[in-house]
Symmetry: C2
Subunit: 392 residues, 2 copies
């Protein structure tokens, strides 16, 4: 029981209590939590098992119940704070069984066993691994339940980090620095992109003498050459060439807490347009970091950036950043607050954001980012890594 959990049980039970407060406000008797980050947040559960259907049933009256594949029950027993009675598992013939059985049949039976089959039940309608069929099977088997959308209910609880969570995010920041330094040290004319990626992994996972890193929810992204305008490419066996711009976006990760970071490099001297764009991005980022503070809305934070680049005649359509923390593939974002004009969330101390200003043109792009923690009177930048355009 919880021998591998990174936090004391009291931290998890507080999180469950805060989840229950939101459930009461929303009129929910139970929530089936299927987002792996939310499962981890509430119980400590950690395993690469989200490729099969699983969930945690949080109710107002009982301890949470983990439900998953039999093969993963032992992971639940050693990584969560719940006793073994609250770990329930389905047999292997439910796994990817095209025609007959679906794991949600088993989950529905558990919900019935706990007496929630005729109550108000929340499900995370837009969580990655809660598929359309999962929902159809679950609702078919629970005809008496009042099923409501509880997407982001737990994610909202995750927004403000405790000191213990921030400690892991600061460790993740050190790992991000190590990974980014490996990129700066390795990328050069004639080096294969894949070899640079290998060196970055060595930095992110091998880490420091004090600690290594966990796998980040997104692999290092490193579009280069003609492709820096396509921000979500990973790497190939192409060799870097003189004149290439390279954008490296990565995150350090510790106990599933992330610190994302992006930097832009050039192999040899940058073009004048590239150097100028980098200056605009750095000025906009630094102005935003100077002025961001609690009490401001997400939209107001974005406006600082927009106004800064507008002075140079540039507009950007995509969001400036998003809240980050616990994450599993495919995303380290929390999906709650976005720094963009449409988001009126008031920033509060303890929230953490990946502020990722980027400007992309047809043939090149510049991204330089920081992960920040909103403090009582401003923002702490978690990592400590130069904000230059790196010439390698």
């Amino acid at each position: 029981m919880s021998e591998l959990a990174p936090f004391p049980t009291s931290e998890y039970t507080r999180r469950v209590e805060r989840t229950r407060e939101r459930m009461r406000e929303a009129g929910l008797d139970a929530v089936l939590v299927t987002d792996p980050a939310n499962m981890n947040y509430l119980t400590g559960y950690e395993s690469w098992s989200f490729y099969v259907h699983q969930g945690v049933l949080v109710t107002l009256d009982h301890d949470p119940v983990w439900v998953g594949r039999e093969m993963d029950a032992k992971s639940a027993e050693v990584t969560t704070w719940m006793d073994d009675e609250h770990v329930l598992s389905y047999t292997d013939d439910y796994v990817q069984s095209p025609h007959d059985k679906h794991p949600m049949d088993y989950v529905a039976a558990v919900i019935e066993e706990y007496g929630y089959d005729d109550r108000t039940l929340g499900v995370e309608m837009d969580a990655y691994y809660y598929t359309a069929r999962s929902h159809a099977r679950l609702t078919d088997q629970l005809p008496e339940a009042d099923v409501q959308d509880a997407t982001l209910l737990v994610n909202q609880v995750r927004l403000k980090k405790s000191d213990a969570e921030l400690d892991y995010m600061r460790q993740a920041a050190e790992l991000a620095e190590t990974g980014m330094q490996a990129a700066v040290d390795t990328i050069a004319e004639g080096v294969r992109e894949s070899d640079a990626a290998a060196a970055i992994y060595e930095g992110l996972i091998g880490g420091t003498e004090e600690f290594g890193g966990d796998y980040p929810a997104i692999v290092p992204l490193m579009p280069s050459g003609d492709y820096t305008g396509t921000p979500h490419l990973s790497w190939s066996d192409r060799e870097f060439e003189e004149g290439d711009p390279v954008i490296v976006e990565l995150a350090g990760c510790k106990h599933r807490y992330h610190c994302p970071m992006a930097r832009t490099l050039t192999v040899g001297e940058p073009s004048p347009e590239m150097a100028e764009t980098a200056e605009v991005v750095i000025e906009g980022l630094e102005t935003t970091l100077d002025r961001i503070q609690p009490g401001m809305t997400a939209a107001e934070a974005e406006a600082v950036w927009s106004e800064s680049i507008a002075k140079h005649g540039i507009e950007k359509d995509s969001r400036l950043g998003y809240s980050t923390g616990v994450g599993y593939p495919p995303d380290w974002g929390e999906h709650t607050v976005s720094l963009r004009p449409e988001d009126d969330t008031v920033l509060e101390p303890g929230m953490t954001f990946h502020v990722i200003p980027g400007i992309w043109f047809d043939d090149f792009g510049v991204e330089i980012s920081e992960t920040i923690h909103i403090t009582e009177n401003g923002a702490e930048t978690l990592a400590d890594f130069g904000r230059d355009l790196f010439v390698v």
Copy 2:
């Protein structure tokens, strides 16, 4: 257009044609393909963008249409064979926008524009990233469409590999060997699990002099010590200790094609039970590989293994293996054929499977696996790596 695609356009158009044959058989006029592996398979599309909603609309009458986020449209333009007219994208305010807009609203508009809003439309109900809300939004906006479940329709087309696909899987096998060799060379008493993971990544991604590797769909899994009975743990900062069993499961990956491989190591001499279990696993695996051949069913292949271990008084409940090939996180399995008693699929030349016999007890487990290609008269093992219990 397709400047980064790993196959000639003719290979993709053949795949689309085979998909259309299945669509006709199923009475479907169109299919919205959202599984990133299926999107890649049909179009070449490659990007870490599956954390936002996206899809490829395959119809009987038009070239496929990629629909996704504006920021990723350029990736679609350079990695797919379709012309830019068939790349349609939504603006950034659709991304993770909790209350107003959902990307499927845009997808529905595209389906309407192409005239399929009152036709029979397949969707992949149980694909990872096709969420319950995606389905609800899509069907709400297309009240006249006859929406059918087309889960695995494209996956079935993927089962039999072409020679060009097998070439990439053989490259992936070399990468798996390099990664596993790094594990064997690095794991030792006093070494941190995270440092071993970093070395494995260096092998998998840094690869060989001829080529590097892409990121595998699952991170290296390496449960050790008391935890080899929990197969889906990754790594921590624990140092390996004398007597530890370690299971390493990894995959090499090239152009999204995988070759998974598992081996079991012990730090110092294995316990007698461990050595004996390894012998049972190796004997069962080798008997299965000797006898597996086209014309046999998946269930019959599994029976060879079951009978082999039954001679030693051992039963195993989980499946023996599954088809593999193109994959994105969270899985390198194709989700079609499982080697298990309930699966009567007839094995055919060109199919590829990860055959992963494992025996887990409460306090230790042994896994030793191979990825194979069914040939005209037997099976080819893709990687060439010793099947011993490795003593390090």
